[in-house]
């Protein structure tokens, strides 16, 4: 029998939120994620903000973005990924 997973800290919730919202998280980890969010007010607010942001930007395509801004955004994303 494997060891139970460690509980998640707030920083891990932030890192995992996209994976959770996209439904890509394995059930045991999703369970830990949800249990943390239920009793952590800060993470509950963060999850709600992410959901709202995704909903608000769902209809936004790259076509409407200024090319200069788009280049800056892509450069920023690439630099963050290393």
């Amino acid at each position: 029998m494997s060891e139970p997973m460690s509980d998640l800290a707030c920083q891990e919730i932030v890192e995992l939120v996209t994976e959770y919202l996209e439904g890509d998280m394995e059930p045991e980890r999703a369970d830990l994620f949800e249990q943390h969010v239920v009793f952590c007010q800060g993470c509950e607010v963060y999850l709600d903000q992410m959901r709202r942001s995704i909903a608000l930007t769902a209809d936004t395509g790259a076509d409407g973005v200024d090319p200069v801004v788009l280049d800056q955004l892509m450069a920023t994303f690439r630099s963050r990924r290393g």
Binding site: P4, S6, Q35, F39, R51
Partner: protein, 215 residues
């Protein structure tokens, strides 16, 4: 099948923000249907009594589930569900008492750790304290004065008592479960799912069944 469900005030679902149709005039709320029952993804999420301590929130409801029901270690997921009635005792003091009961369990674990470390006087003083205006500070003070396992356990006792005192019983319950796990392990594990932590969760569920007259 009959089950239970915690929500935010106003029957607002945890995590989803979905506002559930409430019972009215003695009749259950209308049925809510999901396209499928998939753990953590889709479906009507609910609890057996044993699952409740993991999902503590402001309102507790009796729910009825229909169709396919999938069960994991700490939740149920069904295709259809509706709110049947609110567990009034939970909101009318039960939640506060639940949090305090958890905190007193953490206090007792801390007192045991103090005894093991030879701090007999503080152990007796802490073990006798049930005043929630005093307990958090007393345990925190002992945490600062001790070391090792005694400091760890008095720290948990302080945290659990603090959250119970400010009306966050779910956090108090979680802290106590982690404390029980660490007490059994003799060291910090950061895991609310060790066998001892789960045994504490079962104790918490038994408290809820007994004091809220569930099932």
């Amino acid at each position: 099948m009959k089950a239970y469900k915690f929500t935010r005030p106003g029957a607002v679902g945890l995590l989803t923000g979905f506002t559930w149709p409430r019972p009215a005039a003695g009749s259950p709320g209308t049925w809510v249907e999901a396209p499928e029952a998939a753990l953590c993804q889709a479906g009507i999420h609910a609890c057996r009594p044993a699952h409740l301590p993991f999902w503590v929130a402001e309102e507790l409801w009796v729910v009825e589930l229909e169709g396919e029901v999938v069960e994991s270690a700490n939740k149920l997921v069904a295709r259809r569900g509706r709110l049947v009635e609110r567990v009034e005792d939970w909101s009318a003091g039960g939640a506060v008492e639940f949090g305090k009961d958890c905190a007193l369990r953490a206090r007792d674990l801390a007192a045991d750790a103090l005894v093991a470390a030879g701090w007999l006087g503080p152990a007796e003083e802490l073990g006798a304290c049930a005043d929630f205006e005093t307990l958090p500070q007393m345990a925190a003070s002992m945490c600062r004065q001790t070391s090792g396992q005694a400091a760890l356990m008095t720290g948990y006792a302080a945290d659990s008592a603090f959250y119970a005192a400010i009306g966050q019983p779910g956090v108090a319950a979680y802290v106590t479960a982690v404390a029980a796990g660490d007490a059994a392990a003799g060291q910090r594990q950061n895991c609310g799912r060790s066998p001892a932590a789960l045994a504490e969760r079962a104790r918490q569920a038994a408290w809820a069944v007994e004091h809220l007259d569930l099932l």
